[in-house]
Symmetry: C2
């Protein structure tokens, strides 16, 4: 996936989400339809964002009757990559440190903790 992912900006991310949710490649019309509900971007803004995403090679445009846009990175890849970057920047590269910090900062309620404890058990037998 390469570090190019890192360069998806916040606005661009909105567009990626539409593509990720769709699961199929989409023509601009569809992207617009979805986005005009969420943001009140002008069409040309969306076009600019798509163009930039293509330039960054995280989206591929395929010419048919009209262009169809398809993400070249998955949402999971992007999320994991971004998370790792945060971990590197703020937690000395240790995911454990991040989790410990979350535990200490009351971001998790009892129910969360219970669920996670279960997950930790499951992940144990490997």
């Amino acid at each position: 996936m390469s570090k190019l992912v890192s360069k998806i900006s916040d606005s661009e991310l909105q567009v990626m989400r539409v593509l990720w949710e769709a699961g199929t490649e989409l023509p601009i019309a569809e992207i617009r339809k979805t986005l005009e509900v969420r943001s009140d971007w002008d069409t040309s803004t969306i076009k600019t964002l798509l163009r930039r995403l293509c330039k960054k090679e995280v989206v591929l445009a395929t010419k048919k009757e009209v262009f169809y846009y398809k993400p070249l990175v998955t949402e999971k890849e992007y999320n994991e990559y971004s998370t790792q970057k945060l971990i590197d920047k703020l937690y000395s590269g240790s995911a454990k440190n991040l989790i410990a910090s979350l535990l200490g900062s009351k971001k998790l309620d009892d129910e969360d903790i219970e669920e996670l404890r279960t997950l930790f058990k499951v992940g144990d037998d490997n």
Copy 2:
């Protein structure tokens, strides 16, 4: 702390770290001494970054014989704030989701998991 924290850029963060590590307010000379080892920034770059941090009100400059710089946000505040922003952006605001994702992505070795399980136990009795 307000959302101003969000606006600390990567370069600025380097400067913040120096201040955080120091624990006291520092004059430019000290900041330079520390930074010239880590980065090879020109003095004027450091001055620019300090100026921007002051404008953003995350650093306070106090005039004595010379200016002394002191952080107005703690590293912990900053880290927690940034982490929360990532969680909001990528994990629907759920810290639990983030942790679950980390568990699923093999970013934690057995030792980490063991330690964390202990932490989860400790955090239990509240």
